[in-house]
């Protein structure tokens, strides 16, 4: 039985195909369209999924959309009726956009596109998609299910209890009470793009002290029912015009940071030397305060939820689930076993929609546990050779895998930066060793090199360490993994780099002493594992700096030509695609 799950129309559109409850393929549209966070109908992702399964659209038994459009429209209209005076054009603006994008009729859109009867096309509510995506791929027999994001139809936060193929909703919060939108409002305030810059805020937070904590904390009340209330005088979530915050927030926190403003903070404990340092420190302090308050709120929501259910297995989905700092605190401070679905944002809802239909609607028992996140497209030697030939590029082909690893390790050891493209691409926003840029973590200059010369991004962005799972505890303090599905396997939790090891892995140690650890296991990523192991044998450090294979503001690469192009534009020294090694000097 084939079930296709789809998310599209708002952000991060994706397609996921199940065969008898197992995931055959899962991909975000952005990988194929090359438009980061592409929200368009995921036509290319669907083609990929069907091709991967070797089926035609007519062979699909069901297609499930991740949201209830009528409920969402109802929320838009209700918001307008109640707050339209703040933005009289809001309803026209939204409905025009919906009309142009066919957002009123996603099911009809699906039915027409796939030439399937409408009776085969279904939908489930947004937060149920999130909940299903986490619960039905988790390793647990029962769990407390928490979803948190900007907003779905009405809901922004939900708490459920799950057993078998049943997810029972216990309580929820609705717009305008939204942790996701709180974080987004400050993302915008700090000069970043909403739905894109949230990671940058997390990175920036490491440079600051939570000196604005009291102010920020005053904006949110953590209520005894396990939820929260935001002081709505400071936000504009229901009928937003341009920005999700009001003048009151500006009055409280001062002038918003200008988009693209220089960022340079003074060394810890030293006073700012100029205007740039002073303002950077100010905004970093706000980011740190936001992060602290958000973590507290998440701990409150999850803690109360666990107390309510009495179940200390926790699964989280929704965009807030990508807050790896918070995830680490949830594990550490609440002592729970945590599972976060790797594509915790809206892309993951496509997975949840499909799984919910198969298991919860049709009643099939649970079977899939998310251990392997490599669910995207894969390319053959022929594909790679074609990309090389058309550009008259000569690469060295290694038929012996050990020789390839040795060649790459040699380059990494001497400080080269390598583009690494292998096998199927990852599900979710994290590069987990199949579409990665790799570098030597032991060099203190490597963070700056990769940020500025390779990815052309902000200098304050940290890099993750990929470490052999069995050696991780030597370098990092983090909650012991409960299973191969724990968040560290998907780079979704932050640990502290051990004090005594910070000098050994400076390029992956963030300014605050943390690192977003990625545990690598041989059973799920054998080649990547062997590469790190070989690097470890050479250097004594079984860790690699790992960042996603893309340039700033661009989607992570999919096919060989994308890898070639990204390689060509950046200052990477070498590119490995499958068994082929291409050097930068081959371009001349």
């Amino acid at each position: 039985m084939y079930v296709l799950g789809l998310s599209f129309n708002y952000h991060d559109s994706a397609a996921v195909l199940l065969k008898d409850g197992e995931i055959v393929a899962a991909a975000q549209e952005e990988r194929f369209s090359r438009i980061k966070h592409d929200a368009a109908f995921p036509a290319r992702a669907i083609v990929f999924c069907l091709k991967e399964a070797g089926i035609l659209p007519s062979m699909l038994d069901a297609v499930v959309y991740y949201e209830d459009t009528l409920q969402k429209l109802d929320r838009v209209v209700t918001s307008f009726l109640e707050q339209g005076h703040l933005y009289p054009d809001y309803l026209r603006y939204v409905t025009e956009g919906w009309g142009l994008g066919r957002k009123f009729e996603p099911l009809e859109h699906i039915s027409e596109h796939l030439r399937l009867p409408l009776s085969k096309v279904h939908y489930i509510p947004h937060h149920l998609s999130h909940a299903a995506s986490a619960w039905l791929t988790s390793p647990f027999d029962e769990a407390t299910v928490v979803t948190m994001d900007g907003v779905g139809e009405y809901e922004t936060t939900t708490v459920s209890v799950a057993r078998g193929n049943r997810i029972e909703r216990l309580y929820s919060a609705s717009l305008p009470e939204s942790l996701g939108l709180l974080y987004s409002a400050f993302t915008a305030f700090l000069g970043f793009e909403v739905n894109e810059g949230e990671y940058k805020v997390m990175g920036m937070a490491g440079f600051g002290e939570p000196l604005a904590y009291e102010k920020l904390r005053s904006l949110i009340e953590l209520t005894p029912d396990g939820l929260f209330k935001l002081d709505q005088r400071y936000f504009s979530f229901r009928c937003p015009r341009d920005l999700p915050y009001t003048q009151a927030l500006r009055d409280l926190f001062g002038i918003p940071r200008k988009h693209g403003a220089d960022f340079r903070v003074p060394p810890k404990g030293q006073a700012p030397q100029d205007e740039v340092e002073a303002s950077s420190q100010h905004y970093a302090n706000i980011a740190a305060s936001l992060q602290t308050v958000t973590e507290e709120a998440i701990l409150h929501v999850v803690g109360k939820a666990v107390a309510h259910t009495g179940i200390s297995n926790v699964v989280i989905a929704g965009g807030v689930g990508l807050n790896s700092l918070a995830n680490a605190r949830v594990q550490r401070e609440l002592g729970v076993k945590l599972f976060v679905q790797p594509a915790a944002g809206d892309a993951g809802s496509a997975l949840g929609a499909a799984l919910h239909h198969y298991h919860c609607t049709l009643g099939h028992p649970r079977k899939h546990v998310m251990v392997n996140p490599y669910l995207g497209a894969e390319y053959s030697d022929d594909d790679i050779e074609e990309a090389l030939t058309i550009n008259q590029l000569k690469a060295v082909r290694f038929d012996d895998q050990k020789a390839l690893i040795d060649a790459v390790v040699e380059r990494l050891v001497r400080g080269e930066v390598i583009g690494w493209m292998q096998g199927r691409f990852e599900w979710g926003p994290r590069a987990l060793g199949n579409r990665s840029i790799l570098a030597n973590p032991t060099r203190s200059d490597m963070q700056a090199i990769v940020n500025l010369k390779i990815k052309f991004r902000e200098p304050f962005r940290p890099f993750a360490p990929s470490v052999l799972a069995e050696h991780a505890a030597e370098y990092f303090d983090f909650s012991p993994p409960h299973s191969p599905s724990s968040p560290e396997h998907f780079m979704l939790a932050v640990g502290r780099v051990k004090e005594e090891q910070r000098q050994r892995v400076p390029a992956v140690t963030h300014v605050d002493g943390t690192a977003r650890v990625h545990l690598v296991r041989r059973d799920t990523a054998p080649l990547f594992y062997d590469l790190i192991a070989a690097f470890g044998r050479q250097t004594g450090v079984p860790v690699l700096l790992n960042t996603s294979f893309n340039l700033k503001n661009e989607a992570v690469v999919d096919k060989p030509y994308d890898a070639l192009e990204t390689f060509a534009w950046s200052e990477m020294d070498a590119l490995v695609m499958g068994r082929y090694l291409l050097l930068k000097e081959n371009f001349v």
Partner: protein, 456 residues
Amino acid sequence: MKVLALLPESFRAAEDIQRAVMLIRKRYVGHELHFGAPESMLEHYAPLLAPDVPLRYETGTIEKSYPELVVVIGRGAPPQVENVPHQRIYILRSDPLNLSPRGGFSLYQPAKLDARDNPWIDAHVFHQVGSRTFGFQHFALGPLYIDPEIGPINPFGFRINFDHRSLAERDPNHKVVAIFGGSAAFSCLVMYDEMFASLLEQSLNARGGPLHYTVLNFGMHDHITMQEMVTYLMYVQMVRPDVVISHGGHNDEWYGLQNDRFLLNNYQMVYQRHTEEWSKLIHKTEHVQTPPLFSTTPEIQALNLPQKVIQAYFFRKQQFKTIVEANGGVFLWGHQPLIWSKQKLSELEEEKRLQMENTNPNPLFHRFIRRVKMLHAKTSEELARLKGIRLIDLHQRFEKEPSTTTHFWDHVHCSPAGDQVVAQIYHEAIEGLEREGLLRAVSPGESHREQAQAQA
């Protein structure tokens, strides 16, 4: 002739209106010129027009009695006019953010150009069978670009106001500089006497001395290096210019990124993308799928690798250099400035940059623009490593230009102030050639042949 110039209901800055008024006055010297404005704006315009006094204007009133109108467009909607048949109407855009692709007057009525605007309108068969409007026109040897409303042009659309062939026989102390390039060399947003070719000629000659310079502008919209070469062979070789300035980069990069990969990678060929569409029209092959042009649809287009674009560009430019030098000219390789060349932009430039980088509804266009920006900088770096060329890297030179001046009116085309800087940089380069003895005056009694030998 009586001319009425109608000023807009809103404008960006007084300087924009002052420039529009200056251009109108210059154009209609010796004519009976009146300015009109909506009543609400009379007070605003009075000081800008002094000593002229603006007339109160309402649609359908005074405009009918004028045989010629100029409608100035500001930031908002244009003034409404009730035009009468046989009335001649020009549009003049005053807002620098809304100029591209042309900065001066444009004919609105009649719809077709006539001999008054373009004296060459019937000069050759390709004009006769062309669209007789502003813009690109098919020609036997590639496209021409016809824009006679921002100053004089020659029969092929170049901004040259005399028959340059007369320069073939010239005094040895009369030096000819020929400029090649795309619309930035054409100086498409500024008037004839504001373009850097004119300014360069003025400044070189203003020094006095035995040498006299004529600067010819063979810049043409959209030209890439291959077309510069063709232009040289067709129109310029005959006058053996002493100096050739190839002021380009952007178009080779812009099109190189998008061109057919086989032609680029194997034959270093770059061409205007829209010629693919022309081919489809001629051969009725619209059904053949080719990557669409960026402005029309958000379809995917894999862009070419930067190294390949740069290789093609360098190969063609070197080829052009060889041809010029074989004809006794000095070849100056100008790497043009773009808005991103400046480290700090003026407010207006910043507004334009954001408009360029962020407002196109096609996100892939933003990616493309980022690539163009990166490629231009990368080309500059690679150029610095090239041996045996006379490089004038205006991209580098503009880096420190102050934010107090607006040098660009869009991402590639200069304002009059920008063209002034360009002219100054080339002026210095030519003075450098003089110091090297490559452009030296012939002393009385010294023959042309002797001079040529000395230079060689």
